[in-house]
C-alpha cells in the first residue's frame, strides 16, 4: 500500500528519509500503523504533537490502508 505523508513545520526536514518518493508517499508491503511510518522516517516520537489521518485527529497506533493521507505536526506555540 501507498501512504501520503505530510510533515509540517520543523518535521518537514524528515521528508527525505525512509525512502519517501517524490510525491511524498511511503510504500508498505504488509499491514502498518502511523507509528511504523514515523519510525521509518526517523521522526522522534517526542517531537510529535498532533497526528491526522485523512484530515481527522488520531493516535500513532491507527492502522493504515492504501491511499491514506497522514499529517504530522510538532508542538507550535509562537504568537
Amino acid at each position: 500500500m501507498k501512504i501520503e505523508i505530510r510533515l509540517f513545520a520543523t518535521l518537514a526536514s524528515y521528508a527525505g528519509h525512509g525512502e519517501m518518493d517524490s510525491d511524498g508517499c511511503l510504500s508498505f508491503d504488509g499491514p502498518a500503523t502511523i507509528r511504523d511510518a514515523v519510525l521509518r522516517l526517523g521522526v522522534p516520537e517526542q517531537d510529535i504533537k498532533l497526528v491526522f489521518l485523512n484530515g481527522v485527529g488520531v493516535s500513532l497506533d491507527s492502522s493504515l490502508k492504501d491511499k491514506d493521507r497522514v499529517g504530522i505536526f510538532p508542538p507550535i506555540g509562537g504568537g
Binding site: 513545520a9 520543523t10 481527522v56 507550535i76 506555540g77 509562537g78 504568537g79
Partner: protein
C-alpha cells in the same frame, strides 16, 4: 435661524464600489456633532449608522461588510489577550473594522526583538508598554473604538471577571500554560476563543468552543517539548497572515455565520504554499 445639528444635515451622497449612491458622513462632522450634542463619539457613529448614514471610513468595507454588519461591529466587544506578533495585527485589524469595544491585555514593553514582526514596534515605542502604545495608535486609527488597555498577564482562572462584557476572546499568547489558562477562562465565561499560533512561514487558526477540551489536545503535557517557533523563528509574514484569519473568525462569530459550529483547524504554510483543514 438656529444651525441644524442633525446627522442628516452633514450627510452627503457618495458612490460605493458598485456605483450605487449611499449616504455618508465624515469623521470630522461626527466629531463636531458629538461635541455640540454632548454625545459620546462611539454613540454618534452608532446613531449615524442606525439612520442609514455610513461613516465614510467604512465605505470601502461595502458590500463585503454590510451597513447592518457594521452596526453589529460597533455594538460588539472583543478581548485580545497578548499584544505581540499576532495580537498587534489582530488589534489593528479589529480597530480598522470598527469593533465598538476592544479589551487588550499584555504585561510587556516593546524591545528590539519585536521589531521584526510586531506592528506597533518602532524606534519611538521601544521600552514603552505595548498595550499603552496600541491604545494611543488605535485612537488615531479609529476614534469610534473604545480601547481598554490592561497592562497585566492573564495567568489566573479567577480573572474571568475581566471578560464579563465581551462576546469573543482572541488567543494571541505565546506560552502553552497561559493558553490553557485562557481556554479555562473562556470556558468559564462560555465564550468562543479564537486560537492562533505561528512558527516559521506557517501557522494555524482554530475556534475553540467553551470547554471542548481541544486546547488541552494542542498544549497539554507540553511543558518539556521544544516548540517549533524556537527552531524556526517567527518572521513577520506568518503573524500577519494568521492574525488575518483570526480576525475573519471573529467576524464570522459576531455575524453569526458559523451556525454549523465548524471549528476545524486551519493550517497555512506560505513557503510551500498550502492551506489544509483538519478535524481535531
Amino acid at each position: 435661524m438656529p444651525k441644524d445639528h442633525s446627522l442628516e444635515s452633514r450627510a452627503r451622497i457618495e458612490k460605493d464600489v458598485r456605483g450605487k449612491g449611499r449616504q455618508v458622513i465624515c469623521d470630522q462632522d461626527l466629531l463636531e456633532l458629538s461635541q455640540i450634542l454632548n454625545i459620546p463619539l462611539h454613540q454618534m457613529y452608532l446613531q449615524s449608522m442606525e439612520k442609514g448614514i455610513l461613516p465614510l471610513r467604512y465605505l470601502r468595507n461595502m458590500p463585503s461588510i454590510t451597513l447592518k454588519q457594521q452596526i453589529t461591529l460597533q455594538t460588539s466587544q472583543v478581548a485580545v489577550v497578548g499584544a505581540g506578533g499576532l495580537g498587534g495585527h489582530v488589534i489593528e485589524g479589529l480597530c480598522r473594522l470598527g469593533i465598538g469595544g476592544l479589551h487588550i491585555f499584555d504585561p510587556d514593553a516593546f524591545d528590539e526583538t519585536n521589531l521584526n514582526r510586531q506592528v506597533f514596534a518602532d524606534q519611538n515605542t521601544l521600552g514603552n508598554p505595548k498595550v499603552q502604545v496600541m491604545q494611543e495608535y488605535c485612537r488615531l486609527i479609529n476614534p469610534a473604538v473604545q480601547i481598554t488597555a490592561h497592562q497585566i498577564a492573564v495567568k489566573d482562572q479567577n480573572q474571568d471577571d475581566l471578560f464579563a462584557d465581551v462576546q469573543v476572546i482572541v488567543d494571541a499568547l505565546d506560552t502553552p500554560g497561559d493558553r490553557l489558562t485562557l481556554a479555562a477562562i473562556a470556558g468559564k465565561c462560555r465564550l468562543p476563543l479564537v486560537h492562533g499560533t505561528v512558527a516559521g512561514f506557517g501557522g494555524r487558526v482554530m475556534v475553540i468552543h467553551p470547554l471542548d477540551g481541544r486546547m488541552e489536545t494542542l498544549y497539554g503535557g507540553q511543558e518539556n517539548a521544544c516548540s517549533a517557533e524556537y527552531l524556526l523563528g517567527t518572521p513577520v509574514l506568518s503573524p500577519a497572515l494568521v492574525a488575518s484569519f483570526q480576525v475573519m473568525a471573529v467576524l464570522n462569530i459576531l455575524f453569526g455565520k458559523n451556525k454549523s459550529g465548524d471549528s476545524r483547524m486551519i493550517y497555512v504554510d506560505m513557503e510551500k504554499p498550502s492551506l489544509d483543514l483538519f478535524e481535531l
